[in-house]
């Protein structure tokens, strides 16, 4: 089994398409997950017990079970309750819900970690509730939740690979399919690992850059 570099070049458009699907799914699921996660966190904090308890229950279930089981339940079980989704929408929905559960916990601890004194200080200088949320709570929370959020985004990027199991045509499915067509399965998996490694490293670096940028901006403000 000798690896033919030309194979990669011949298949480059297909590989890039797969990578494109992976990156689009990743970005959509991360943004969607963060958005819904934020709503869940706000609902749990300000919605009273009737909202907090059921939401907390759902979050615990999503955090306590493997993503693969969740995606199987949605993809294979969905049609039985009138939710027959194609692989791509099923994958996107599953990943978004999964991400939302984790993001809601990130935001919840972000809310909890802001010192009461900061809010009291804002009240004392006469800021309104809305001003306090916009000028104090949200900026401070951004600082607190950014590092775990970057972390979670990287986790979601890696979880997209699992969507290949329900035949979402993303990177893992594409490259391993090429590998078996060309009788170069191991080589294709090496290539696949390298691509993910590069993507994850790049995403991590980008995230850290955002963290340092933002913290500098906060310093200049304070």
């Amino acid at each position: 089994m000798i690896f033919d570099v030309n194979v990669i070049f011949d298949q480059l458009p297909a590989i890039l398409r797969g990578a494109g699907v992976t990156i689009l799914l990743w970005i959509a699921a991360t943004i969607g997950g963060a958005f819904f996660g934020f709503l869940v966190a706000v609902g749990r904090r300000y919605g009273g017990r009737l909202v907090n308890l059921p939401l907390g229950f759902c979050v615990e279930i999503l955090r306590g079970t493997p993503f693969l089981i969740q995606i199987f339940l949605l993809y294979y079980g969905g049609p039985f309750i009138g939710l027959a989704l194609d692989p791509v929408p099923a994958g996107l929905m599953g990943l978004t819900v999964y991400g939302a559960a984790y993001y809601s916990e990130i935001f919840r601890s972000g809310f909890a970690a802001i010192p009461v004194g900061h809010i009291e200080a804002a009240q004392c200088v006469g800021l309104t509730q809305g001003q306090i949320i916009r000028r104090i709570l949200l900026p401070e929370m951004t600082m607190l939740v950014l590092p775990p959020s970057v972390n979670m985004a990287v986790i979601i990027l890696k979880e997209t690979a699992i969507l290949s199991i329900i035949t979402v045509p993303e990177l893992t499915l594409t490259v391993s399919a090429i590998g078996s067509q060309q009788y170069a399965f191991v080589e294709s998996l090496f290539l696949l690992a390298l691509i993910y490694w590069a993507l994850v490293e790049a995403a991590g670096r980008l995230g850290h850059l955002a963290e340092t940028r933002l913290s500098r901006y906060r310093f200049s403000q304070s």
């Binding site: 089994m1 615990e60 279930i61 306590g64 079970t65 493997p66 993503f67 693969l68 089981i69 969740q70 199987f72 339940l73 294979y76 079980g77 039985f80 309750i81 890696k158 979880e159 997209t160 690979a161 699992i162 290949s164 199991i165 893992t172 391993s176 399965f185 191991v186 998996l189 090496f190 696949l192 690992a193 993910y196 490694w197 994850v200 490293e201 991590g204």
Partner: protein, 213 residues
């Protein structure tokens, strides 16, 4: 869904537990070596450890498992697929556990070692009697967390044909046309296992004396 099916899932979950437990233990042993290499302060040891950790944390576990499963026979190692699965899970968790251990050792306050020096400990004694026990206690919550992550991640070894909980659920769902009930039951079993691990971990943590929280 019949009780018989649930029983089959429960039996398969023993594989999930067994594979996860073995992988976490092997991973811990490898993590000790890795974190030692990183804390050695010598590039010759720390650089390879760094690359190992970066790789296994940077590549999806599914890809790692497929790679190891298919690579081993190619390089002349013919082992049952369950061994390949355990190797994959162990290497992955080793990378994460090594980061935990390194962080734990780095966060043992310097003053605790100074006070050991002042009562006459040799560096080796201070390491064994003070640094190791405190670092292990500091990293214990992260270890419990990692155990839960691996229990969940072990569902991926289903793709290399190990009939653990997820694979059993998949097979049963295919043959019974009850995917909803079966995958929900499998999810419930995972949830219960994880709750038990988290609870037990919390109890053990509280019984470990002396690390203020």
């Amino acid at each position: 869904m019949s009780l018989k099916l649930f029983e089959l899932l429960l039996k398969a979950s023993l594989y999930t537990i067994g594979i996860s437990l073995i992988s976490i233990l092997i991973g811990f042993a490898i993590a000790i070596l890795l974190s030692g290499a990183m804390l050695s302060g010598r590039k010759f040891f720390s650089a390879p450890a760094q690359i190992f950790i970066s790789f296994f944390r940077g590549v999806p576990l599914l890809v790692q498992l497929l790679l190891i499963y298919n690579l081993l026979p190619v390089i002349g190692i013919n082992v049952p697929s369950i061994v390949a699965a355990i190797v994959g899970l162990s290497l992955c968790t080793a990378a994460y556990q090594a980061e935990n251990l390194r962080g734990g050792f780095a966060s043992v306050p310097r003053g605790l070692i100074e006070s050991a020096e002042m009562v006459g400990f040799t560096p080796g004694q201070a390491f064994r009697r003070i640094k190791v026990p405190i670092a292990l206690r500091l990293t214990f919550p992260a270890l419990v967390n990692e155990a839960i992550l691996i229990l969940k991640a072990s569902s991926l070894v289903s793709v290399v044909g190990i009939v653990e909980l997820t694979r059993m659920a998949q097979d049963l769902a295919g043959s019974t046309f009850l995917p909803l009930e079966i995958f929900a039951s499998a999810g419930l079993i995972y949830l219960v296992i994880n709750l038990v691990v988290a609870r037990a971990g919390g109890l053990i943590e509280r019984s470990l004396p002396g690390i203020p929280r």
